[in-house]
Symmetry: C2
Subunit: 265 residues, 2 copies
Amino acid sequence: MSDQPKTRLYVDSPLAEGQAVGLDHERAHFLRHVLRLDKGDAVAVFNGKDGEWLAEIDGFGKGWCSLTVTAQRRVQADGPDLWLLFAPIKRGRIDFVAEKATEMGVSRLWPVFTRRTDPNRVNTDRLRANAIEAAEQSERLTVPELSDPVPLEKALAGWPEGRTLYLCAEAGNVRPIADAVRETGRGPAAFLIGPEGGFAQSELDEICKLPSVVPVGLGPRILRADTAVVAALACWQALSGDWTAEGGDTRPPFRSPADPAGPAV
Amino acid sequence: MSDQPKTRLYVDSPLAEGQAVGLDHERAHFLRHVLRLDKGDAVAVFNGKDGEWLAEIDGFGKGWCSLTVTAQRRVQADGPDLWLLFAPIKRGRIDFVAEKATEMGVSRLWPVFTRRTDPNRVNTDRLRANAIEAAEQSERLTVPELSDPVPLEKALAGWPEGRTLYLCAEAGNVRPIADAVRETGRGPAAFLIGPEGGFAQSELDEICKLPSVVPVGLGPRILRADTAVVAALACWQALSGDWTAEGGDTRPPFRSPADPAGPAV
């Protein structure tokens, strides 16, 4: 058996030394037939609550795989308190939004229907699958919460006091995002990204009445909604989130400067 | 005839009042059969040199369309001097890199082969088509230059003095990107994003010997190469590029605060 995990999986089970974990058909197939792993091989597992653990493959059966949790690899750490409210966009691009927002560290994904939102339904199972895959691949210890899609006005009606809502707007009176984030400072935050067709003007006027709203600009070019998601979240993480020195260096230990053997883009 | 352009096209021809512009089969088909435009309808055109112009459709023929340029809409303005060096990645994700980097305002796209780069060829025609489409859609006045793919060491060998090369690295001794960009200040810049498999350690050591190189970190999560492209460029634009107040508000006049009728995400 090797201790270097061959892959990283999100699981539902509690994680502690000696705990048994069962994997469903799809995961079992992936480990056995795609990664060609065998009894005794190590994988990493996390459940969003108990940190990251090494686990050893006990064996495969018809449509299942069982693991035994062996040792903790990282203690649980939660990321920044950062929500993304986004208007559903067409398939392909919405998968991308779930994937990228997860990589960018959002804690909550919240689809909201705006006046010009084109799709009127959201496949939340699919969004969740994309978020889980991105959490596994990006070495997050959590999976973002996926909230039920609601009309935008409903989301805004109960807006929590003290949570800044950065409105990404391409027109009108906006402030450069870096200035706005720096001046607002740390604290719970959310970003609102509209649909490809933009917000209706009357809708923008309504949103801007909320005291927590800070309209921000993302430069002189028109960005697609999926681009705006990554760009806006990157600016926030770099200036106010966990990409800063003050945000705490929460890189996994095997990627810290002391061990330069880890992966690097 | 309406003066509100129905679409925005990149063309090769010189642009000036009264100038005739011919469109090829694909463009003619798009205007006539997809957008259902007709003689007298207005479109916007730009060529990367002469600003943006309104043009009127003169007529369609079998496989062609001719336009007459009528009035200038925006004067030419070049974006920041910002290069992106990137390791080719698989199809789909590389299309995405060309599209997103163009939206993010890079002036030069330069595919470089690193040791762990998987595809050993690049379809530059396809990259260019993606960049043109993104330039049209994002309302850029230029299309990024697409340089011939070369091995990374060749690109570094002739590195121009005074151009900062931000190396996006997931491991090792890096500085938070916001700190690094702020301290380096304005001036010609470039970003280097590695392949999905990361850089080889020996390769990283070589790159870091260059005096212009500044290794930067993009937070605690592992980002896919295509995510890292948008995230890194967003931070630079927001702190040192044309997303800042000092970078000059180069938003098209129809999207300035005086005219809130423009589109908005």
